[in-house]
């Protein structure tokens, strides 16, 4: 940032509308001091000051030659401050903030802020890095934020309820790094993010700042509203918010998310009948969806020959939807083929056949399991049923004959 800003030639200050902040910064521009020094001397957060100068340049109020060089160390510093800003105006619960622990107020605020927002933050925001950051920067950022939030940095301090929060934040940070620190996982994750980062770095930051400004105003307003309310009402309101989320998820056919939101609502307002009704409506579908995706996963695993994983997936499908006949059947089949846990397999197979009658595939496995477990009468019954549906299976017929002989 060694460029030297100058006031634009022929500028008519009376015709230019500036905020007081901009006016102040402009008054410092003397054609001698470098941008770096100006930013430092501004007394503002350096990112803010820098943005304001860029804005001034854009509007033709000041000029300098060349682009703003982005020094690496410099950016890091800016980043920290950028995030440091975020909690300044956040609404804090006075009880939480008042808890007597061995932390100063700023640290408390930082922790509360991260803890409250961490589930909505992207991995990038958690590590305080930009979307475009290189692997090395991400690692450095991870190390830096780890230092801030690793429980060891507060070793054996009296932390009260903050202890659990710090741990949760650190785990969240590790999770972020697990993804961003791995090229493949990072790429996959980037694909899930809603927006692409804009090409112009400063521009990008400005947008972020603007959005934040808006958020901040909104939050401030909400805080003032909320502060007037009692904690019970607050809880109910929060619950209602989750409930509304759930409703809109239902509209979008996002049943898994809907179920999660409604569960959150219920933890805050446990006996609300409206919530319960919605849960009753949503939960089976969410389970179905989960069962479906686990079942598909099972098929994929199976096709790759990873039988154990396949079984686990099917079991999870069954867990989600105990009446998923396909998953029950596949589990039974695989266990039978592995020759393990026949009794368990039988239970599954029986259930599958109960749920879906006259499925020849299902019947065949059931028959085989009965045979294996030496329950001949049942085996005969099932083979007979099977052969009605599939009369051309000679091997089954043979087996049936043998069985009948053995019983006689």
């Amino acid at each position: 940032m060694n460029v030297i800003p100058r006031v634009a030639a022929g500028l008519n200050l009376n015709e230019t509308k500036l905020s007081s902040k901009q006016g102040f910064l402009l008054s410092r521009v003397d054609g001698v001091t470098s941008l770096e020094q100006l930013v430092k001397a501004s007394g503002m957060a350096s990112e803010q000051a820098l943005e304001a100068f860029v804005e001034l340049k854009k509007r033709g109020v000041i000029t300098w030659d060349g682009a703003v060089p982005s020094d690496e160390a410099e950016t890091e510093e800016d980043e920290i401050e950028e995030v440091a800003d975020s909690w300044v105006d956040m609404a804090f619960d006075p009880f939480e903030l008042g808890e007597e622990v061995a932390l100063d107020e700023d640290t408390k605020k930082k922790i509360l802020y991260y803890h409250k927002t961490m589930n909505d933050q992207t991995h990038y925001r958690m590590l305080q890095v930009e979307r475009r950051a290189e692997a090395k920067e991400i690692k450095r950022a991870y190390f830096r934020v780890s230092r801030e939030f690793h429980p060891d940095s507060y070793f054996r301090k009296n932390l009260g309820s903050y202890k659990q929060k710090i741990e949760a934040i650190f785990k969240r940070i590790s999770r972020a790094y697990e993804v961003l620190g791995n090229e493949q996982k990072r790429q996959a994750y980037d694909g899930t993010l809603p927006y692409e980062s804009t090409p112009e770095e400063i521009e990008d930051r400005r947008n972020v700042a603007e959005r934040r400004e808006r958020d901040r105003a909104l939050k401030k307003e909400r805080r003032q509203r909320l502060l007037r309310r009692s904690p019970v009402v607050l809880r109910k309101r929060k619950a209602l918010k989750h409930y509304e989320d759930a409703q809109s998820y239902v509209e979008q056919n996002e049943y898994t998310k809907a179920a999660n939101s409604i569960r959150l609502a219920l933890t805050l307002d446990p006996k609300n009948e409206i919530f319960e009704r919605l849960l009753d409506e949503v939960a089976p579908r969410a389970n179905e969806i989960r069962a479906e995706s686990e079942f598909r996963r099972g098929r994929v695993e199976e096709s790759m020959g990873r039988i154990e994983e396949a079984i686990s997936a099917y079991l999870r499908a069954i867990e989600a939807s105990p009446s998923d006949a396909r998953a029950l059947h596949r589990t039974a089949l695989l266990l039978y083929e592995l020759g393990r846990d026949m009794r368990q397999a039988l239970t599954f197979s029986r259930k599958a056949n109960q749920l879906e009658q006259d499925n020849s595939e299902y019947l065949l496995i059931l028959a085989k399991l009965y045979t294996e477990l030496d329950m001949k009468k049942n085996a005969i019954r099932e083979y007979t049923r099977y052969l009605v549906l599939n009369p051309l299976d000679e091997r089954a017929e043979e087996t049936l004959k043998d069985l009948k002989k053995a019983v006689d």
Binding site: F143, S146, R147, S153, F155, I311, S312, L315, P322
Partner: protein, 615 residues
């Protein structure tokens, strides 16, 4: 919290370090040794010996001398490996009440944590002698590949010794801390740690003073002692071939072979051959004793141990592959552990990594230094310009539970950064079911039973409801020490669910406390004995002087016609003192102590009269 020590509780040697004025240093014991043998012995007189003293008498008292206890700590009695190793031990292993291992010494059975506690107590004493203040807080190291049971047992050892183990850290990680201390590095390093009983490999990313373990693996049954054993086998085999005698049946002879095996192995790191010379090794009948004498070359040793070294390399290879790290990404290889002094080990490692290992660390001391650095990082108030050291370590084993079919479902993958946690939801499968059993395992096998069982937990008092309706959230936590804990909560009511631990091989709380009490009693007895001995030797020297002065004093009294009260009193006092010494009665001895002192003064005064006549 005062000064916190770092203790490397090694299989064969232990070492203690502390950070003084910002720099880490090893503390030598009074004999000048910087490491202490991890040996414990109980003598015929039921005296407890630790360290060099224990090692010195090992040959004459092999059955009551424990070495390499770390190989057994936290292991289950019925594990195959333990049963196997039992055959190689001169001391007697017996089954403990929790499927754990106990060692029979003298008239008592000791648990492994008690044995390690004795070593820890000794290390604490070494530090306190040097620092002159009492030190109650320590960071203790364990092999990275230690599982939960082994870590818990090490913690128990700390508690029994009366120390607060504020953290357990992994040995290779500790080595990396010491290697990078104050260097502002930014690179990836591999730590290859081949000690007396264990092998560990860890890959770390160092960024200034943050140390992130990327991946770690190892073998807790592979170390220098295996190299010794190959030499022992070689000697035993040669001896059998020559004399048709099995040395393994003679514990004393075997202990001599063991000693010489290790010594020869170490010498072969610096020279090309050694002569193994064991005169009068085995007495075969009346007047006949057999000797052993043979040359062992370095090449022969390498031949005997090539597969052991190969095994470490295989583990390195696997670790790198699993971590997705290329050999060329590794900027430095750090060698730790005494066994890495063997030139063949160094060469093989160099060949594998394609670079010469770092020579900047002391293989016997880095681990303790690293532990001290971590201790300091955790508790000390640092000055502004000191960079805070931060460790981001991982769990070496996958953690999971047994599911239907006996399968292992992983909840926390190995090499996950700790502290970490994972949740799992259990649902009732029967109507009105009120308990759920959960079996927790650590390991990598898909079949649960092939992994290490950490514990069985039973959730009790579930509310009665139709099946599938009760959902219990179970949270599995791994702390920064790598230790696992479990908590459960009813999803719907949010009620904390009680958990009963029904199977672990660890000591019970009661046992730990009574062992700690015993240890305290022991230390008190030792302290009292030391004090008694001090008072006794002073009393004895005073009595000696009284006796020497007696003839002179008698003369003076006779000529000056003093009353001979003084003489009578002196006689009385010495008699009482003798009795107290004989009975080892500390109180009685201190009672007469002052009297003796006065008598000496009086006698000196009287004797002086004779030398200055006319006075």
């Amino acid at each position: 919290m005062g000064r916190v020590l770092g203790i490397d509780l090694g299989t064969t040697y232990s070492c203690v370090a502390v950070v003084e004025e910002g720099s880490p240093m090893v503390i030598a014991n009074k004999g000048g040794y910087r490491t202490t043998p991890s040996m414990v012995a109980i003598t015929a007189g039921n005296r407890r010996l630790v360290g060099h003293l224990a090692k010195r008498q090992a040959v004459t008292n092999p059955e009551n001398t424990v070495y390499g206890a770390k190989r057994f700590i936290g292991r289950k009695w019925n594990s195959e490996l333990v049963q196997d190793m039992q055959k190689n031990s001169a001391f007697e292993l017996v089954e403990g009440p929790h499927n754990d291992i106990r060692i029979n010494l003298g008239e008592k059975e000791y648990s492994l944590p008690e044995i390690s506690a004795m070593v820890l107590t000794e290390m604490k004493r070494v530090a306190e002698d040097y620092l002159g203040v009492s030190c109650d807080n320590v960071v203790v190291t364990v092999p990275a590949y230690f599982n939960d049971g082994q870590r818990k047992a090490t913690q128990d050892a700390g508690r029994i010794s009366g120390l607060d183990v504020i953290r357990i850290i992994n040995e290779p990680t500790a080595a990396a801390l010491a290697y990078g201390f104050g260097k502002k590095l930014e690179k990836r390093v591999a730590v290859y740690d081949l000690g007396g009983g264990t092998f560990d490999i860890s890959i770390l990313e160092i960024g200034h003073s943050v140390y992130e373990v990327i991946s770690t693996a190892g073998d807790t049954f592979l170390g220098g002692e295996d190299f010794d054993r190959r030499i022992v086998d070689w000697v035993v085999f040669s001896f059998a071939k020559e004399h048709n005698v099995d040395l393994r049946e003679d514990p004393m002879a075997l202990q001599r072979v063991r000693d010489v095996a290790e010594k020869s192995k170490c010498e072969l790191s610096f020279q090309n051959e050694v002569e193994i010379n064991l005169p009068f090794l085995y007495s075969a009948g009346k007047n006949k004793t057999l000797h052993f004498q043979k040359v062992l070359t370095r090449t022969k040793l390498e031949e005997l141990t090539v597969d052991l070294i190969e095994r470490t390399i295989e583990i390195c290879d696997r670790t790198l592959t699993e971590a997705g790290v290329l050999k060329s990404d590794i900027a430095e290889v750090v060698l730790v552990g005494g066994q890495t002094r063997m030139p063949k080990v160094q060469l093989t490692v160099q060949k594998f990594f394609g670079r010469e290992p770092s020579k900047n660390v002391h293989p016997d001391e880095v681990v303790a230094l690293g532990a001290a650095i971590q201790a300091y990082a955790l508790v000390a108030e640092k000055s502004e310009d000191e960079e805070e050291t931060l460790l981001l370590d991982v769990t070496p084993h996958s953690l999971g539970i047994m599911i239907v079919g006996g399968y292992f479902q992983i909840l926390i993958e190995k090499n996950t950064t700790v502290p970490t946690s994972a949740g799992h939801v259990f649902t009732t499968v029967k109507d009105g079911q009120t308990t759920v059993k959960i079996m927790v395992f650590q390991g990598e096998s898909k079949v649960a039973a092939d992994n290490e069982l950490l514990g069985e937990f039973i959730l009790t008092g579930l509310r009665e409801a139709p099946r599938g309706e009760v959902e219990i959230d179970i949270t599995f936590e791994i702390s920064a020490d790598g230790i696992v804990s479990v908590a459960a909560q009813d999803r719907e009511t949010g009620r904390q669910q009680s958990i009963v631990v029904t199977a672990t091989s660890g000591l019970t709380e009661d046992e730990i406390q009574s062992m700690a009490e015993e240890n305290k009693d022991h230390l008190l007895a030792v302290a009292q004995k030391e004090q008694f001995d001090k008072v006794r030797s002073q009393a004895e020297s005073m009595m000696g002087e009284i006796e020497k002065l007696l003839p002179t004093v008698e003369q003076v009294i006779a000529t000056a016609q003093f009353s001979n009260d003084a003489l009578k009193k002196a006689g009385n006092l010495t008699k009482r003192a003798r009795k107290a010494i004989q009975r080892r009665d500390f109180d009685a001895l201190t009672e007469v102590f002052e009297g003796l002192k006065r008598t000496v003064d009086t006698f000196r005064g009287l004797a002086a009269r004779k030398q200055t006549p006319g006075g």
